[in-house]
Symmetry: C2
Subunit: 316 residues, 2 copies
Amino acid sequence: MNLLVVGSVAYDTVETPEGANKQQLGGSATYFSLASSYFTQVGVVAVVGNDFARSDLGLLGKHGIDTTGLETTSGKTFRWAGRYSEDLNTAVTLETHLNVFEHFKPALTPAHKRAPYLFLANISPDLQHAVLDQMAPRPALVACDSMNLWIEIARPRLLELVAKVDVLMINEAEAKQLSGERSLVGAAKQLRKLGLKALVVKRGEYGAVVFHRDFTFAAPAYPLARVVDPTGAGDSFAGGFMGYLAAVGDTGPEAMRRAAVAGSVMASFTVERFGVERLEGLNLEEINSRFSAFVELTRFHPLGGGQGLPLIARPV
Amino acid sequence: MNLLVVGSVAYDTVETPEGANKQQLGGSATYFSLASSYFTQVGVVAVVGNDFARSDLGLLGKHGIDTTGLETTSGKTFRWAGRYSEDLNTAVTLETHLNVFEHFKPALTPAHKRAPYLFLANISPDLQHAVLDQMAPRPALVACDSMNLWIEIARPRLLELVAKVDVLMINEAEAKQLSGERSLVGAAKQLRKLGLKALVVKRGEYGAVVFHRDFTFAAPAYPLARVVDPTGAGDSFAGGFMGYLAAVGDTGPEAMRRAAVAGSVMASFTVERFGVERLEGLNLEEINSRFSAFVELTRFHPLGGGQGLPLIARPV
C-alpha cells in the first residue's frame, strides 16, 4: 500500500441551499480515500459500527481501497448533521455523534506501518500521534489536518504533532488561530518554525495556497455554476494532493505544485453532488480534462514579447 | 492621451488594524490614474474643491497624468471616512461628504473624447453615461465599476450602462446582487447576455477572476505579510488592468490575462501602505519583479512528463 489515511468514516445528514440529503456516506477517510484511489493504492484506518452498509464497504473495495484497517465494532457508525449557509461558506453543526469512534484505538498491520505516504485526517491529535508513532520506517511524507476544536482543547498535543509532520493542511481561520498571526504569510512563517515543510491553506471557493519553505503556490478553485454540497471538499483536496504525490513518488517543489492542482481538481468534483455521488463514478478522461481546465484557468504568458511589462519610468 | 478615467478625487480618513490616517489623498480616479501612469499616458476627469492641495496636483503631474479634466470648483473636495474590520475584508463607512462632487457635470475636451481606452470608475450611472456619450469615436475598450448603492437606487440606468460597456469590474457580492445569481459563473452568464465582453470580479485578498466570453482566468492576490490599508486596491487593480491594455493596444484574450496580473501587481503595492504612499514612488524594477513573483506564485508544469495525470482506471 502506497498511501495510508487515518480518519473518520461516517453517515452525514446535510442541508444546503440546493437541498437536503440524509445519512449519506461521508467522513474524512472516505472522501480522502476515494479521491486518492484514482492515483494510487490507498489503505484506510478507521472504525465503523455494525450498521455500516455492505454496499458502502463494496464501494471502497471497487476503488481498490485496502479496508483491512477498517475495524467494525458493535455500536453505531459516526454521525454528523450540518446545515450550510446560503453562500455555502460556513456550516452549522446540528448534531455530532461520535458513537464507535469514541473508543477507537487504531492498531496498524505491518503493511500499514510501511506505507510511504501518510495522511492524518482531522481526528484528535492523540489518535494522530498514535498512528504516526506506529509507522516504521518514517514515511517519505506525512500530512495532517485539524480543526478549531483541537486547537482549543488540545493545542499542545497538536503543536507537538505539527512539529513531527511535513505538511499541515487546514483552513484559513484555523491557520490564523493556531499561529496567532493575522496574515497567512505570518502564520506560515510561525508554523514552519516548528519544523513544518509546508502549510497548505484550504480556502474553499477561493482555492488553496501552498506556503512551502522554498516557494508559495496559489491554486484557484474551479469556478462552478452550481455547488450542491461542500461536504468533503477539503478531504477530497487532500486525497488528490497526497494521491498524486504518492503516485509519482516525489515530494519536490514541482510535484507539490501539481499536487495542489490535482487536489483542487478532485475537490471540484466532490462539491458538484451530494456526498460521494460524484467522486465515486469518475473516469480518467473527466479528471484529466478538468486538470486541463485548471491549466487554462491559470495560464498567462509571463512577458509580452519583451523583457518585462511595457512600463514607463516615473520620477520617484 | 491613451487612457481616460472619470471618477472621484478625494480626501479619505481611514482606520485599519494597522493604524489610522487622516485626510489622505484618495478617490477612485486618483488610485486608477497613479496605477495606470506606469503603463501609459492617462487623463483624469474629476472635480476637486479649492481646498485641494497644490502638492497633490503636483503628484499627479509628476506621474505624467493629464489633469486638464480636473475641474476646480469653489467648495470642499469629496471626503470619505471609513473603518476596516480586523480581517480587512469589509469597511464600515463612517462619513461621506460629496461636497463639490454633488453638482459635477463632466465636460470633455476634444483630446479626452478621442481616448481609445476609457474607465468609468464608481460614480453614479448618470455621470458614467454622460461621459461615455461624449466619446467619439467609441473607444476600443470601455470598462466600468459600480457599487451596491447604485445597484439599489439606480439599477435600470446601471444595467443600461452595462449593455454599452465591454468590461464590468465589480466585487463578488455586487456581481451576485446585480445579476440575482448565487454563483459567479451564473452572474457572468447573465451579465454577458446584456452585451458585456467580460465580467471581472474583484475578490480582495483572494484575487480576481476574469469571466470573458471566450475564457475564464483566475489571478490570485499576492500574499502579503502585512496589509496596512486596503483602500484603493480595486481601483489600483483597474488601473493596472486598463493601463496594461492601453499600453499594448490589445484587447485580445492573452492581453487580458496579463492585464489581470498587472492589475493584481498594482493592487498588491497599494495595500502595503496608507493611501497612495506606496503607489506614488514605485520603480520599474519593483513592478517587474512583483510580476515575476506572480509567475512563480501560479506556475505549474501541466503534465508530469506523460500525457496526463498518473491515474488508475476505476470501475464506474
